[in-house]
């Protein structure tokens, strides 16, 4: 935290104005999403204020900078502004020092994509969205019009705040910090903490949101009835949802089965169970 307050002072008023533009433009980063460059167009568009301000118009350096960023890029957008802010500060330096190694810019981008998306997707797609939806769904089930507003506020206030903080942080830390982050073990520790939180939440979500009950009953002699669901519950409550979730995980992570195929499989599996009268 001291790092942040110490470096915040270093952002000049001009840069702050440019960062605000970067932030606002980064909101559209996914607008033209496609497979060729994914968020590449948005990355370029967000960076234009900086490139325009720091590179001379019509210069070869500016052209090279523009070419550098219209390539594949994708980081969960609420945290990806860290990378965008960082790249903005590197481009600023590159424009001022002729001997700046510009290849380091692309290298930093590439090194951040994997780890930051892993953390970002888990925290936002996995956790925040599900908590926001959980709260809003109770309103919605009662037909309360507040549901969509509650959902959007719970999700967006932290998400878009994080986007802005990450913009400033990325710009102020400098690229040396990335090396430091790796060597000080900070990134590993942070990733582990995010994974711990993610796993606990996913466990809770599996229990509360994956639903399955079997209707299967066996009539044995003497009018006795064996209710299969009761037997399953006495083993472990929620056993079937747990096993199905872990089964899907196994298919996706270990057998590399396509997500869509897993979903199609689930549909066929359910219709089959229904046809057989199991559920």
């Amino acid at each position: 935290m001291t790092q942040e307050s110490a470096t915040n002072n270093k952002i000049s008023p001009t840069d702050k104005k440019l960062l605000r533009k970067l932030y606002l433009r980064s909101l559209t980063i996914g607008a033209p999403l496609q497979y060729a460059n994914e968020y590449g167009s948005g990355f370029e568009y967000s960076l234009l204020p900086f490139i325009d301000h720091y590179y001379k118009n019509g210069s070869e350096e500016k052209r090279q900078a523009l070419k550098r960023h219209i390539v594949f890029y994708n980081i969960t957008q609420y945290v990806g502004t860290f990378c965008q802010g960082l790249v903005a500060s590197m481009e600023k330096q590159a424009s001022q020092h002729k001997d700046y190694d510009v290849s380091s810019i692309s290298a930093v981008k590439a090194s951040l994509m994997g780890p930051m998306s892993g953390i970002g997707d888990t925290l936002f797609w996995g956790i925040l969205r599900v908590i926001a939806a959980g709260v809003a769904m109770t309103f919605g089930m009662q037909g309360n019009i507040l549901a969509p507003f509650v959902f959007l506020l719970i999700y967006n206030i932290p998400a878009q705040w994080c986007r802005w903080e990450m913009t400033k942080l990325g710009f102020s830390v400098g690229s040396e910090y990335i090396t430091e982050m790796y060597s000080s073990g900070l990134l590993t520790i942070f990733t582990k903490a995010a994974r711990t939180l993610g796993l606990i939440m996913l466990g809770g979500m599996t229990s509360s949101l994956v639903q399955f009950k079997t209707k299967l009953v066996f009539h044995v002699g003497g009018g006795q009835v064996i209710n299969v669901q009761n037997i399953l519950d006495s083993l472990l409550k929620g056993l079937v949802p747990l096993l199905i979730t872990l089964g899907c995980y196994w298919l996706i992570a270990k057998k590399h089965i396509n997500f869509t195929v897993v979903i199609l499989g689930l549909i066929i599996f359910c219709i089959l169970l229904s046809a057989l009268g199991i559920a």
């Binding site: 607008a31 033209p32 609420y78 908590i131 037909g143 939180l197 796993l199 229990s207 869509t260 979903i263």
Partner: protein, 272 residues
């Protein structure tokens, strides 16, 4: 009559454009989630209550429709618009509407993948614009592709509602009840696939036990998810500081004492 359906289809397409396009235009604000889409379609078609309730039900169904790591398979906004339209215009009951939403979500997902492939064709224009430092063209492409791909969704929903709602209503009625029941079951199990997708990003052998803690906290202790999140945060923070201490200790040792004994090495391996 036919005028009415065209107007309704236009409004459905508009809702899709606002929610899907708006989500991507404004910081992925999640406006394309069923809980937002449902009420908007309900409002436009004149039955807000149905929209809100169906939106909440479909939110649970599509909670696992995670759009991460380039994997798209279900499009929740298309599914919600069509399911709510089917319930309000086609007079379907909510159970049938939820069942219908799943195949519609799959088709919507296919459409989404189609647009991603289609608009990849513009990569040459992007590269060319950057190469010529043509910033105006870069900005045009940025917003132009957004508009075009959102328009594709508008048109797809419009056409589906115009030709689809009545035949679909008839088709759903003709389905054997076990199919409808099976699709309803799928709704309960779909989140499993989404969570599995997220699990594949965070799973680590040494950490996997935490998953079972979360499961038990909800299944047996009946804690709400928010409480589970806070407990998770506490554990994560405690262990992060603990790990940091171990890391620092280990490194201060290696700095001062480069040739250490085997027993020390062993101890450190144990701690890490």
């Amino acid at each position: 009559m036919s005028n009415n359906i065209i107007l309704a289809a236009f409004l459905c397409g508009l809702a899709e454009f606002i929610c899907y396009g708006g989500d991507w235009l404004l910081g992925q604000n999640m406006a394309d989630q069923p809980i937002v889409v449902g009420p908007l379609v309900g409002l436009l078609l004149g039955d807000l209550q149905t929209g809100i309730i169906l939106g909440a039900m479909l939110e649970a169904t599509f909670i696992g429709a995670v759009n991460v790591g380039g994997a798209v398979s279900l499009n929740p906004s298309v599914a919600t618009v069509l399911a709510v339209a089917y319930a309000i215009i086609g007079g379907g009951d909510t159970k049938a509407a939820v069942a219908l939403a799943i195949p519609m979500g799959l088709l919507g997902g296919l459409l989404e993948v189609g647009t991603y492939v289609l608009f990849s064709l513009f990569q040459d224009s992007w590269t060319d614009a950057a190469d010529k430092a043509n910033e105006k063209k870069l900005i045009w492409l940025h917003y132009g592709v957004w508009f075009a791909r959102s328009l594709v969704f508008f048109v797809a929903v419009f056409i589906t509602v115009v030709i689809g709602v009545k035949p679909v209503a008839a088709f759903i009625k003709s389905l054997p009840s076990f199919v409808e029941n099976g699709l309803g079951l799928t709704g309960g199990l779909l989140p499993a696939a989404g969570f599995a997708m997220l699990l594949s990003m965070v799973w680590e052998k040494k950490l996997a036990v935490w998953y079972f803690l979360g499961f038990i906290l909800v299944e047996y202790v009946k804690l709400p998810l928010l409480a589970v999140g806070i407990i998770g945060l506490v554990f994560a923070v405690v262990f992060a500081f603990y790990d940091k201490d171990i890391f620092d200790l280990k490194h201060s040792k290696t700095d001062t004492n480069s040739n250490k004994s085997a027993s020390q090495q062993e101890e450190e391996d144990f701690l890490s």
